[in-house]
Symmetry: C2
């Protein structure tokens, strides 16, 4: 692979998106993307006795769907990169416990799918694996319980807050199984913390990290926002997206407003669904990318996009200790080639 | 890189261990490795106001030491792989918050250093980065609080339990800065869960994963235990090590007893230090490898070792829900070349 500037790497071998799959919960099944999700569960319990078990089942469902769509089985996969929001990444470890695939656990909060896709691209490009699986998840109920309050408390949510998406998205990247969509360039982000400590406003904490990584990517590749059909962040929500656009403009003199969108704004109808600032969670960008975005790319409606996965590396414990929230943003560039 | 058998990859370019560093807390400073650790803190608080902050300072200290020993600064490092035992990997994220290095967060419980070293090797071999940093940590007090009971409760620890090491170890892997020690082959492990649910007996949960990965490694490479100067697990402790040796013998007909040791047995004096089954935690194998083992390899006293990092992917919440403990083992082969 080739170095572009300081941080971006460009792959010399094609890294194909062999397949992608997404399954979501009830609220997401009532949103604008309901018709293109592979599976919509009508109940967030998903037939399980705990929210944690339900989230593990989301992971398993997305993986099975993704393998089926690629006409592969577990033995065809050289490695799986996986992570989620739960302590000790239990949705991933328990969801993949019986998979018999070499397992690489990641932690990147909501940026985990971008981290997984970028690492998997390195594996496929370098020949480490022929086929690599990426899967991440989140679940509204397990996340509220862990990061805020159990749902039974009936706590009122802040207007700046984002709703954790119940869902899981999976991708198979391959050097052998061709498709019209490839990952061409990637950038791993640095931790950025501008001092936001409001745990109900993750968008504000993540926006500066997104701005830094997007500016680094554009500088390193000598491209402008207008060279892309879409610069998709995941997941800044409404407040974070507005901050990102302002911050990029004032600090780096880059205007991405005409080509920008955010996975947290696409998965829900913000007017009608009472989700405050939009969606978030490892399952948000994973399911939006694996459904809507891949559908539009596979047919060439979108030809070149930047997927900038953002994560608030927030700990409830350290927030109680008065700490601010570090954030990160990893970027993968997808291209349509036919 | 080349495929060996089903799982092992062999690097075609040298992946040098440019430097390594380790810092430890009070109990470890009273153990058999006290004289070869780079820094021994006399108090586990390390001048900080919380155990979590102290653990982040361990990470920062190990990174600074490792950079100094390699005569590098942050700008020379293309990426850092890091993880720890804390929820949301906060020792890593807060410890590296100001590093300005592209950050890749990992979760592998006590196997995290083996996971980090293996991933960093792929980066260095493939030319993704020239120099890659790996750092992991654990802290007895932050881990007891999170996984078991706050120390103030004075809970009695089970005889089968292992003591979480207070410490952090760091490595810089490089394609450019030569040294006598290289990482030649790696294997990423699969999740193994044979049904152990006793959270005070991690060794028993991890031993089958270690047995599986070691057997896979030996099979794939066509080697026998006697081809290695040392097969070092980290961290099975006394009970887990005994189970590993029995399990490998009865299931795979491989006897590693003459060349086996365990990081959890090396870091403490089990007779005198009242640590029950030995040491554990992301900081255990990291500090033992970065001090004792690298010292013996750099001078050629050890010429070929397998480092089999084991992790119990245990969640206190899922254990309370009655779940068993999934485990994993990643392997990196180190060779002395002069």
């Amino acid at each position: 692979m080739k170095l572009n500037g300081n941080y971006v790497r460009e792959f010399e071998n094609p890294v194909y998106v062999a397949s992608s799959a997404a399954c979501v919960g009830k609220k997401e099944s009532e949103g604008p993307l309901k018709d293109i999700m592979d599976v919509c569960f009508s109940d967030d319990g998903i037939g399980c006795s705990s929210w944690e078990d339900a989230e593990a089942k989301l992971i398993k469902t997305a993986v099975d769907l993704c393998l089926n769509k690629a006409e592969m089985n577990n033995k065809d996969i050289g490695a799986v990169f996986s992570g989620d929001l739960l302590n000790q990444c239990t949705a991933s470890t328990y969801g993949l416990r019986e998979s018999d695939i070499p397992f690489l656990g990641l932690f990147g909060a909501c940026s985990t799918m971008a981290l997984a896709l970028s690492l998997a691209s390195v594996f496929v490009d370098s020949g480490y694996t022929e086929n690599t699986l990426c899967v991440t998840s989140s679940h509204f109920c397990s996340a509220e319980k862990q990061f805020r309050y159990p749902l039974e408390y009936g706590a009122q949510r802040s207007p700046a807050s984002q709703r954790t998406v119940t869902g899981s998205g999976a991708f198979i990247l391959s050097s052998a199984q061709k498709s019209p969509v490839v990952i061409s360039r990637i950038l791993f982000g640095k931790i950025v913390d501008l001092g936001i400590s409001d745990t109900s406003n993750m968008g504000a904490a993540m926006a500066p990290a997104a701005a830094q990584s997007i500016a680094d990517f554009l500088d390193d590749t000598g491209t402008t926002p207008q060279d892309y059909d879409l610069i998709l962040t995941g997941d800044l929500g409404k407040i974070g997206s507005d901050i990102l656009i302002d911050h990029l403009m004032s600090r780096y003199h880059k205007d991405i407003s005409s080509v920008h969108n955010d996975c947290g704004l696409l998965i829900y109808d913000l007017e009608k669904q009472d989700v405050h600032s939009g969606g978030s969670g490892c399952g948000c960008s994973a399911t939006v990318m694996a459904s809507l975005i891949m559908e539009k790319m596979m047919c060439g409606e979108l030809k070149r996009i930047l997927f900038a996965g953002t994560g608030a590396l927030m700990s409830p414990l350290l927030s109680l200790q008065g700490e601010t929230i570090p954030a990160i943003c990893h970027i993968a560039e997808f291209n349509y080639r036919r």
